[in-house]
Symmetry: C2
DNA sequence: CGCTTCATTGACGACGTTCAAGACATGTGG
DNA sequence: CCACATGTCTTGAACGTCGTCAATGAAGCG
């Protein structure tokens, strides 16, 4: 897996809940100013200078969606592009008979839409409550044309996403159900890591329902459930409620994931 | 599927071979001059002006590989980036136990490598005989930084590849063996289409062995072979040698592929 | 001619899907 | 407080697709 980890989101308030630390609580936006923006250092605007931020602040507006709501349908006109500020969203495709495959998971700082494309090629759906920082596509395209700070960052982000997509293709094409689940749990753990932590946390929450995990992993929800139960039975993980996961052995979980050594 | 069709390559000479028209013969490079380059209008340099071509001609050199040869190993240093000028190459990942998944198929005009990345994240292998137009990474990075014509084209190409990768994820995650084969045959047909043709040709050659197809489609070579035989038995296609395919019913093949309506 | 490479075909079994029932938690109204 | 409905998750049993292992066939080459 590529290791462009982004904490799925910052934690807010105290960290006690029956001795469990559940992450992925969503911080509220405290300001509309780019300077205070929680994703400022990672988003498409990461390398903007002050003048560019002025332009952006002028053309941007926030928009929120509740968990489960569609953000875009495939084929929709896309008058806007956007940065995901808060929450988790999915990019997915559905076949006529209803089979569905998630083809991307959007986390804070990820970019939605593309300059030069009028219609959405995929469905985008809010998985949790979501806030977007939207820009009208036309003026944004002009900005991309004129600001290397934006276009270079966008290229970099797109290349990273392409690498991640290719890693996921290995999982979808070749990994067993067990390996897919283990890989996914490790990925979520890694992305739940806070900046001040040294390692992935042992306790965290899954951001997806079993059904959404199945869509992401190319499995059925029954298989997902069975494999999670199996990992629990073998004392590799332990469950806290429906979504809470505690990893009892990182080593064994890594082995189950069948992962290659990393490179960088 | 996205429809950024590139003919896998131009045809050379006469078109008779027992009444079959086999495409994918590879034209030889007739010149080292960018103006005469067969991929000039589609590659990363598609929008370069004369000055930029002068710079490129100065830093470029051609390099060829025979079918089967490795071009890059995962983890290798990448002193160069390159455009694929002639032939077909694959991007693939291999797990420790040997399971392999092709995660991209590189055709003429496709770009290899990325600015700002020192090591190859995946294996790249010549599928047929291949010729690359190579550029030293450092000077190329400078060119990308300074020429919007190059960086914008590169962004566009990368976004297209990301869309294709996501289409492929649907195939790997959800399609049956039969659907994968039918989808693949249709894709090859479409890419074999010459500029002057109105539709995909009915007769063409598969650019991959059964094993390579299996790697690409997330199947075993036996399953690939069985499904091709089944399509033959049902008179949907007909075989001419090992690689030659004749589509007897586009309609039925499309139905077998389980494809959504296109959007654009 | 044997050797190699690539493709086809068969028999069998494993893994994951499908269908179905039940558990558990939460919320609503009587 | 209970009865009941709803959404999410778990578990079981039967089935089917595709992978594995193995034998055979076809084409190209020294």
């Amino acid at each position: 897996m590529q290791t462009n980890a982004v904490p799925i989101c910052d934690i807010e308030g105290k960290l006690t809940d029956n001795d469990l630390v559940f992450r992925m609580n969503v911080p509220s936006l405290r300001s509309q100013k780019c300077v205070d923006c929680p994703i400022r250092h990672r988003a498409v605007c990461a390398r903007c200078d002050e003048d560019e931020f002025l332009l952006l602040e002028d053309m941007k507006y926030y928009r929120s969606y509740e968990a489960g709501q569609p953000i875009l349908w495939r084929g929709d006109e896309m008058p806007n592009v956007a940065s995901l500020v808060r929450g988790v969203a999915s990019i997915s495709q559905t076949m006529e008979d209803g089979r569905r495959q998630m083809v991307g998971l959007l986390l804070p700082s990820d970019f939605i839409g593309r300059p030069g494309r009028e219609r959405a090629p995929f469905d985008v759906t809010a998985v949790t409550d979501v806030t977007l920082c939207c820009f009208k596509r036309r003026p944004f395209e002009t900005l991309v044309d004129e600001s290397p700070n934006v276009s270079k960052r966008l290229l970099e982000m797109t290349l990273d996403e392409l690498d991640s997509a290719r890693d996921w293709m290995l999982l979808l094409g070749r990994k067993t159900a067990r390996e897919r689940i283990a890989t996914f749990i490790r990925m979520v753990a890694q992305r739940s890591q806070l900046p001040e932590e040294e390692d992935s946390p042992n306790i965290f929450e899954l951001p997806l329902t079993r059904e959404a995990m199945a869509d992401y992993l190319g499995l059925t929800l029954e298989t997902v459930s069975r494999q999670i139960s199996a990992l629990k039975r073998e004392n590799i993980i332990c469950l806290h409620g429906k979504r809470g996961i505690e990893v009892l052995s990182q080593t064994r979980l890594a082995a189950e994931a069948g992962e290659d050594a990393f490179i960088d």
